[in-house]
């Protein structure tokens, strides 16, 4: 069964002369547990696609089925629940709450549900992310790479079925990048998480099961790297 399916997904910005079609009738199916890389030129619509799938943006047309339910029809409260429990979204630019400690930032989705993460899992993630000694700091006191890792931790903490990552390694060095990617792959294998990853990095893309290329808001190629 496909965990994710879109039909004719369209998103436009602006009106009249200045109208931009960021996504143009995109049909896409993703199986549960797949690791998908999305590539394309700057401005091709990758972030837009991820935002729509993550439920933080609303499409102008088309449907988004997640486990056969169209989230485009969800009301605000349901959609918030979806964002909290079903997907983890990592933005292109690190987005942490500056007034909350790193620990609280990571646990945020659970805290919003009035829950505490299991200690083991939390320690596990923190160790892998290498943030063990930075938990009580504020985001402003972290380096760019560390902040990005905290954002990844936040996306992983609830063990969401779907992980959407928008160039999570764009600001990181080679070593950090490799660590993060292997963390994602581990998570993908261990918890059967479905991952969609936007990247400009050829090497990163090659780690995926499948590579989708977008141009001008359309999918122009879709090939499996591994069966």
């Amino acid at each position: 069964m496909d965990i994710l399916r879109t039909e004719g997904l369209t998103r436009q910005y602006g009106t009249g002369q200045t109208m931009v079609t960021a996504l143009d009738h995109v049909d896409l199916q993703v199986e549960r547990g797949q690791f998908v890389a999305i590539i394309g030129a700057s401005g091709s619509g990758k972030s837009t696609l991820l935002h729509l799938l993550g439920g933080v943006d609303r499409p102008d047309g088309g449907k988004i089925f997640v486990e056969d339910v169209d989230i485009a029809t969800f009301g605000e409260e349901l959609l918030a629940q979806y964002r909290r429990r079903k997907v983890g979204l990592i933005y292109q630019f690190y987005n942490l709450i500056p007034t909350l400690s790193v620990k609280k930032n990571i646990c945020l989705p659970m805290l919003l549900d009035n829950k505490e993460p299991g200690k083991e899992r939390f320690d596990d993630i923190v160790k892998t992310l290498g943030l063990g000694d930075r938990l009580e700091h504020l985001p402003g006191q972290l380096s760019g790479g560390q902040q990005q890792r905290a954002a990844i931790g936040r996306a992983l903490i609830y063990q969401p079925a779907i992980l959407l990552a928008d160039e999570p390694t764009g600001n990181l060095d080679r070593k950090n990048t490799e660590e993060i990617i292997s963390l994602l792959k581990l998570s993908n294998r261990q918890y059967k998480q479905t991952i969609l990853l936007v990247t400009h990095d050829e090497n990163v893309a090659l780690e995926a099961d499948r590579i989708i290329k977008i141009e001008d808001g359309k999918i122009i190629s879709d090939k499996a790297v591994r069966p």
Binding site: V56, P98, T99, L108, L112
Partner: protein
């Protein structure tokens, strides 16, 4: 702690500037509300205290209660307290006194505690045991040998109703005088008024007393008291009512009304006025504070977007704003209680200092816990109202839009070019105009806030000024300089009137009495001219129609015989031997006219002729109790009211009769109306500058005859001075409230400006980095500050002028008069202050921005 709450608290701590601006706005706004409530409560308290002072602290009165039923009244579950007056006695005095006896009313100790007589004691103390009396002041002035502390041997004649008529017995007794009382009775009684002491339990069972009641539940008084009267077996009178009276004036202040009289009372109107004022100011403040919350929410929009995208629901997002509101408003609301009390204490003390001579008493500032609680609730509701908008807005916004933050939310529309500015200041002018346009919302808030505050504060002043001028105009129409009202509940002493009429140095005098009554006529009785102007049917509310007959309100005027005959002579007529009356046959042609002149225009009213007989009735409204009917014969019909100082109401027909005839007629009215209609009015015309002197002389004459509560004098100069004082004092209160409004407006605008400048530091650094020089920045910001401060004035001022003009038009006040009285300087001060403060802030900010190190400003990320 809940993560949303924790987040909100953190935000409040971190964003100090916005937090402080919200706190200040809430503080001042709740101080205003609190002040309003303290004013209202103090006013209410003043009214209640005054009412109690002058007429006692009772709810209802039962008359003719047999003494043996007192226990039943006292034990009634609905009665909280009972006090008794009665058991009247006549004490025959020793031979040498000017008048032969004391007329004694005995009161129990509760009565002395609760009622007003104790306030009329001039010297000495209240009676505390049987045999002690306080005596009216004329006793002391007429019998100089007696003083307080004297014991008199008297013979007491109890006015006890005995079963055998005429078996009055006299007992020898002694009375001790313990005080002097400021009361009097008509000299017709041949005695002095005195108040004594009694124990209700020791009354003889068949004596009758008057019982005053305080009720356990005041709201039930109108139903409970007749039940009590029935329970103790009091008889009904000829109209089917029990012999009870209610303290309607006091009850009204407590919100209790006789069935059907709710809308006639002023109290609900005052209350509604208060509610409207409170509601309107709450709405305005909520709008202003909403701006502050909006700024704070906008600052956090990016973070709220992140919270949303990791799954915070719309309710949780909304709650961040509401929590913020609660955290930020708790302390200022508490503090505002203290500030509001202090502020109103200051204002009211000053007010009462200015008016104490007019009212004869000082106003006490009162602020009960209940009022404090109401003020707090009002303030809190206002804060929630203010936070509600931004909370909703934030919870609705798309997460991704919020995350992207403001740089995308500015409309991409092509910025309007500003031809004037561009020409004058070139490219820089255009940037200034653009930045004003771009931060539209912000500037919108400033503008609305400042012009609203201006409108509210000065609009209120304008209304007040215009109505004040209009009152002054009405005063100038008054023909007489000194006015005296005499009301003892009985026919006024002839000797007193004679002395008043003999007053030296008076150019003109009128003495009259008046009573409301009515006449029933048919449509054919209207004059042709009046019919053309609309007739009876146009006088809705004044003239009542019942099956083809019309009830026309009349005022029966009693004039001294000689003055009456003078009027007749001028009309070329003679008095009729019996029930002779003069009809003043004129009616306002268009009473609805705005213009004073047009309103004065009259036409003949009715087709009444000399020699006709008219039947009048005491029952001038459906509520009037009595229905005595009487005839008068028309001796003359005159076209206008003689100048006696009486200005009849619209559609009211004056019927003038000689004084003796007047008394004969009202003697048959129902008791209450009879008592009221015995009032006499004496008016003097005096040479310029003499009025206060004459008033003083009149005062002296009257107090020799009457208790000080039985007469009232006033003079043009005194009224003018009092009105001047009142106007000054009220203006002071209104200005102080207006000042609060101004402070809220200016402070919230300030914080909006500071915030906007802070956010745009980067933009300015960018401008400088591409080569705009210091002078350019200064001009740019100078320009912006100018635009910002001038706009609210340009918009508010014309609206204010419209309000003033409308007010002048409605009150019939000329512009020049208005401008003389309106505190123009306060308005100018407000305008100058707005200009100074805003431009000053811009100047300071401009200096700071010019001193910024470019790189740092560009790197500096707020939050």
């Amino acid at each position: 702690m809940n993560i949303i709450r924790e987040y909100s608290l953190d935000q409040v701590r971190k964003n100090r500037r916005t937090s402080i601006s919200i706190i200040v706005a809430v503080l001042i706004a709740s101080t205003f509300l609190c002040t309003l409530l303290v004013f209202a409560q103090s006013f209410w308290n003043q009214m209640v205290q005054q009412q109690i002072y002058t007429s006692g602290d009772w709810d209802a009165e039962l008359m003719d209660v047999p003494a043996d039923r007192l226990g039943m009244v006292r034990d009634n579950a609905g009665v909280k307290a009972m006090f008794v007056k009665g058991d009247n006695q006549t004490a025959f005095l020793p031979e040498e006194t000017a008048l032969p006896y004391f007329l004694i009313q005995n009161c129990d100790s509760n009565y002395w505690d609760a009622m007003y007589e104790k306030n009329m004691i001039l010297r000495g103390r209240i009676p505390q045991a049987p045999g002690e009396v306080v005596v009216s002041k004329d006793f002391f002035s007429q019998n100089q040998t007696y003083g307080i502390g004297d014991t008199l041997a008297v013979e007491i004649d109890s006015n006890v109703r005995t079963h055998m008529e005429g078996s009055q017995q006299k007992d020898a007794d002694s009375l001790t005088i313990v005080g002097e009382l400021d009361v009097s009775v008509s000299s017709g009684y041949k005695g002095y008024l005195a108040y004594g002491f009694m124990e209700p339990d020791e009354l003889s069972p068949d004596s009758e007393v008057v019982v005053y009641l305080q009720m356990e539940r005041r709201g039930k008084v109108y139903t409970a008291v007749p039940q009590i009267a029935q329970a103790i077996g009091l008889p009904k009178d000829e109209y089917g009512n029990y012999p009870c009276r209610y303290h309607a004036a006091l009850l009204a202040w407590h919100g209790v009304y006789a069935p059907g009289s709710f809308f006639q009372s002023d109290v609900p109107k005052l209350f509604l006025g208060l509610l409207l004022t409170a509601g309107a100011s709450m709405a305005v403040f909520a709008y202003i504070i909403r701006g502050a919350f909006g700024i704070s929410a906008k600052q956090k929009i990016h973070q709220l977007g992140i919270l949303k995208s990791v799954g915070a629901g719309p309710k949780q997002i909304g709650r961040t704003v509401i929590y913020e509101a609660c955290i930020l408003s708790a302390i200022p609301i508490l503090l505002s209680m203290v500030l509001g009390y202090l502020f109103s204490f200051g204002v009211l003390s000053a007010y009462s200092g200015m008016t104490s001579e007019v009212f004869g008493s000082r106003m006490e500032v009162s602020f009960s816990p209940a009022a404090a609680l109401i003020a707090a609730v009002f303030s809190f509701v206002m804060v929630l109202l203010a936070a509600h908008g931004p909370a909703k807005q934030m919870s609705k916004i798309l997460p991704i839009e919020a995350v992207r933050g403001e740089q995308y939310s500015i409309s991409v529309k092509k910025a309007k070019s500003h031809p004037v500015l561009a020409k004058r200041f070139g490219f820089l002018g255009e940037i200034a105009a653009n930045s004003v346009n771009a931060g539209r919302k912000l500037y919108h808030t400033c503008m609305v806030t400042l012009s609203l505050c201006m409108l509210l504060a000065f609009g209120f002043l304008a209304v007040f000024t215009a109505s004040d001028i209009s009152n002054a105009q009405a005063e100038n129409m008054n023909h007489f300089d000194v006015n005296i009202t005499l009301g003892t509940g009985e026919r006024i002493d002839g000797a007193l009137l004679a002395e008043l009429k003999a007053m030296q140095g008076v150019q003109g005098i009128s003495v009259y009495a008046r009573a409301n009554c009515a006449v029933w006529l048919s449509g054919s009785d209207q004059s042709a001219e009046f019919l053309q102007a609309g007739g009876f049917d146009s006088a809705d509310g004044y003239i009542v129609e019942r099956v083809g007959r019309y009830r026309i309100p009349c005022v029966l005027v009693g004039m001294e015989q000689d003055a009456y005959e003078n009027v007749l002579r001028e009309a070329g007529m003679e008095a009729l031997p019996e029930s002779s009356a003069i009809i003043v046959n004129s009616v306002a042609k268009n009473p609805g006219a705005r213009d004073y002149e047009a309103m004065q225009e009259t036409v003949p009213y009715l087709n009444l002729r000399q020699g006709q007989r008219v039947e009048l009735t005491e029952k001038y409204s459906d509520d009037t109790q009595g229905d005595y009917e009487f005839m008068v014969d028309v001796a003359a019909v005159i076209p206008s009211m003689p100048e006696i100082g009486l200005d009849p109401s619209f559609y009211t027909l004056p019927v003038i009769v000689p004084m003796e005839e007047y008394y004969a007629i009202i003697g048959n009215f129902s008791d209450e109306m009879e008592v009221y209609n015995y009032r006499n009015y004496v008016n003097y015309v005096v040479p310029d500058g003499m009025d206060e002197e004459i008033q003083g002389e009149a005062e002296r004459i009257c107090s020799a005859y009457l208790g000080s509560s039985d007469f009232m004098t006033s003079s043009k100069t005194e009224r003018m001075r009092n009105r001047g004082r009142m106007t000054g004092a009220t203006m002071f209160v209104v200005c102080s409230l207006a000042a609060l409004f101004g402070i809220v407006g200016i402070s919230s605008v300030l914080s909006a400006i500071l915030n906007s400048l802070g956010q745009r530091r980067k933009e300015f650094a960018m401008l400088r980095s591409v080569g705009v020089d210091e002078k350019g920045i200064r001009r740019l910001l100078g320009m912006e500050g100018f635009l910002l401060s001038v706009r609210p004035i340009l918009i508010g001022l014309p609206m204010l002028i419209i309000i003033c003009a409308a007010q002048c038009y409605m009150m019939g006040v000329s512009i020049v008069e208005f401008l003389c009285a309106f505190p123009v300087w306060v308005l100018l001060m407000y305008i100058v202050m707005v200009l100074l403060v805003i431009n000053g802030i811009y100047m300071l900010a401009s200096k700071k921005i010019r001193d910024d190190v470019i790189v740092e400003a560009i790197k500096d990320d707020t939050v």
